[in-house]
């Protein structure tokens, strides 16, 4: 099963936070992604059983939100903001440079399974345009060249410090760790922070 015994216990912990079980659906889908890499059909079925919902209900929710993925995602998720303030500062050039380097279309993952690149809408950091995120941490005011260097480092499994590292901003070491954090379960366990390239 996609969610292990241990994760099912964590899921119940999430359910207990809310007056109604169904409210834990989004956190549990993040937990599923942390464990399984994406929202798989088997995962949908398991979460439906867990919350007393139909597969259609869970699938309808999972497909509504952009952060739930129906295909495995790389260890590092590189998100390039495409909205106007970032476009004015060159975000389209960055997206083009990165997709060309990785040899994949937007939304694709490079052959090694390390880096997924996507364009996203406004990331609420427009003063730092153009904004690129790695696992939702900001790398701001990058040139296309700097964005390429960032991705080269990620391909080597190295994570350069984000823009506000000196102020305490830290990049999650893997998408699995990121999704664990988004589930609301606190510090990710060590096996998730290591994260294999192909998850």
């Amino acid at each position: 099963m996609p969610l292990s015994e241990q994760s099912l216990a964590h899921a119940e912990e999430l359910v207990a936070r809310y007056p109604q079980r169904r409210s834990a659906l989004l956190p549990i889908l993040f937990l599923l992604q942390a464990e399984d890499g994406y929202v798989s059909p088997a995962g949908v079925a398991q979460v439906a059983d867990l919350l007393g919902l139909t597969r259609a209900e869970v699938g309808a929710v999972a497909t509504f939100y952009t952060m739930f993925r129906r295909r495995p995602v790389g260890k590092y998720l590189v998100s390039v903001c495409k909205t106007l303030s970032c476009q004015l500062r060159g975000s389209r050039e960055i997206a083009e440079a990165l997709t060309e380097r990785l040899g994949v279309p937007l939304g694709g993952t490079d052959q090694s399974g390390m880096v997924t690149v996507e364009e996203v809408e406004c990331l609420a950091a427009c003063d730092g345009a153009p904004v690129v995120q790695v696992n939702t941490e900001n790398y701001e005011r990058l040139s296309s060249q700097e964005a390429l260097q960032l991705v080269e480092a990620l391909l080597r499994d190295e994570v350069p410090p984000p823009t506000f590292a000196a102020d305490g901003s830290v990049t999650e070491p893997s998408t699995a760790a990121l999704h664990w954090r988004l589930a609301g379960l606190g510090e990710p366990p060590e096996q998730l922070t290591a994260g294999e390239g192909d998850r």
Binding site: P19, L26, M67, C122, A125, C126, D127, N135
Partner: protein, 431 residues
């Protein structure tokens, strides 16, 4: 000249303000004793008297919104903080949470006490990692110190706060969609009435308030109504965060009293135009508010002043466009956003935004037709006021205003066989 003020931003320059001890040294949580010394209904009255208006875009009076909460229903009352900041150009709430997360927690405690809420939810965007960790750490620290949980600071008042992460959907900033999402459903808006104040989260009385709004409440409790009203105008009082981005030298968040002239925000605080280019257009409150031009720079940036200029204050998110920006391309960029973010529930918005996108693409790529401008206007008329929620209305704002001020530029795209601006480009794909 209007001086910038330091209220919500007063702790932003302190690198340790996010730590509970440091926050308290900086007078943090000072409003709790003052609040608990009052009856809850007196706090609601205080916020009403202050004239505080919601900082999330609509500008509805906060105290009045609280006053609408149904009483005696036998159900809990919920406070839900809207931290789903996603309006293009808006980045104030995230910086507040990154720099000064306890300011929101303090506001939640005081506000929850005022409205009789025992469980509060904060719905925070999934995409903002740093803000998320900072806020969770602040909540955890507040629990450890007895500022949350049972018997908050010995007051007898119990409060739990749950941080709930969104998963990527602009529509969840709309309050009924946000509540649907929090209930574990697709984030689609619901018909009102019933309003959330009567039937909101779990069909119980609920108020949904923006981060900046809630973070402002403790200041009103501590410093009083007269102090608050000493800033801004009678109808739009208090300090306000302004997010400025785009073609300016010094983009960032700036705090001014409401009513500051736009010129002082753009040409003053934000450093003026990048490379001394001419200003072509600007949004006063994010992409959903009609664009204005250089002729409107003396407009006071408050709810009434911007409305008189023909637009809306929205989230006070100023996106500045220079003479180098193709207005058709800017419209296309915004329209791609709305087409992507439309939740699909109602036809005018779902279909209309995509048709507008297609027409703008063809104008940009030299396939435009003479009647495209009229068709765009027709589609806007079919969306505006006929959509289920404000997303549809917002999607028409850039196009209607651009046609009003820059119609000739649209025509040039037709007569000239495409975009006359060098370097502007159409999407790489994917959306």
């Amino acid at each position: 000249m209007t001086e910038q003020v330091k209220v919500l931003t007063s702790r932003w320059d302190d690198a340790r303000a996010h730590e509970l001890d440091r926050y308290m040294e900086l007078d943090g949580y000072a409003s709790l004793d003052a609040a608990f010394a009052k009856a809850p209904e007196d706090l609601v009255q205080l916020v009403k008297d202050s004239g505080l208006r919601g900082r999330g875009g609509a500008g509805f009076p906060t105290g009045m919104k609280w006053g609408f909460l149904a009483k005696g229903t036998g159900k809990p009352t919920y406070l839900v903080v809207n931290a789903d900041e996603s309006e293009p150009g808006t980045f104030k709430d995230m910086e507040l949470l990154e720099r000064d997360p306890h300011a929101l927690v303090e506001g939640v405690i005081v506000s929850a006490y005022a409205i009789g809420c025992r469980t509060a939810f904060i719905y925070l965007r999934g995409e903002c990692g740093w803000a998320g960790r900072r806020l969770q750490a602040a909540i955890d620290a507040a629990y450890e110190r007895g500022l949350l949980g049972r018997d908050v600071k010995g007051s007898g008042f119990d409060l739990d706060v749950v941080l709930h992460r969104g998963a990527g959907a602009y529509i969840c900033g709309e309050e009924t969609a946000l509540l649907s999402s929090l209930e574990g459903q697709r984030g689609q808006p619901k018909l009102r009435p019933p309003f959330p104040a009567v039937e909101g989260l779990y069909r119980a009385p609920t108020t949904v308030n923006n981060v900046e709004t809630i973070a402002t409440v403790p200041w009103i409790v501590t410093k009083g109504v007269d102090w608050f009203r000493s800033m801004g105008s009678d109808k739009s009082p208090g300090p306000k965060l302004f997010s400025v981005s785009g073609d300016v030298r010094n983009p960032g968040n700036f705090e001014f009293p409401l009513g500051v002239p736009a010129r002082e925000v753009i040409m003053g605080a934000a450093g003026g135009m990048l490379e001394d280019k001419a200003l072509k257009a600007w949004t006063p409150g994010g992409s959903s508010t009609p664009m204005l031009t250089g002729d409107h720079l003396d407009a006071p940036m408050d709810f009434e002043g911007i409305q008189a200029a023909g637009s809306l204050l929205g989230t006070a998110a100023v996106i500045v466009m220079s003479e180098d920006v193709c207005i058709v391309n800017a419209c296309l960029n915004f329209t791609e956003f709305y087409a992507h973010e439309s939740c699909g529930k109602c036809a005018p918005c779902r279909e209309g935004t995509d048709w507008m996108r297609k027409i703008l693409v063809r104008l940009e790529t030299g396939q435009g037709r003479e009647d495209d401008m009229d068709t765009l206007k027709d589609i806007c008329d079919a969306i505006f006021g006929r959509s289920f929620c404000a997303l549809g209305d917002g999607a028409t704002s850039p196009i209607v205003s651009a046609l009003q001020f820059f119609r000739d530029e649209f025509s040039e795209h037709v007569s000239g066989g495409g975009c006359p601006f060098p370097g502007t480009r159409v999407a790489v794909g994917a959306h």
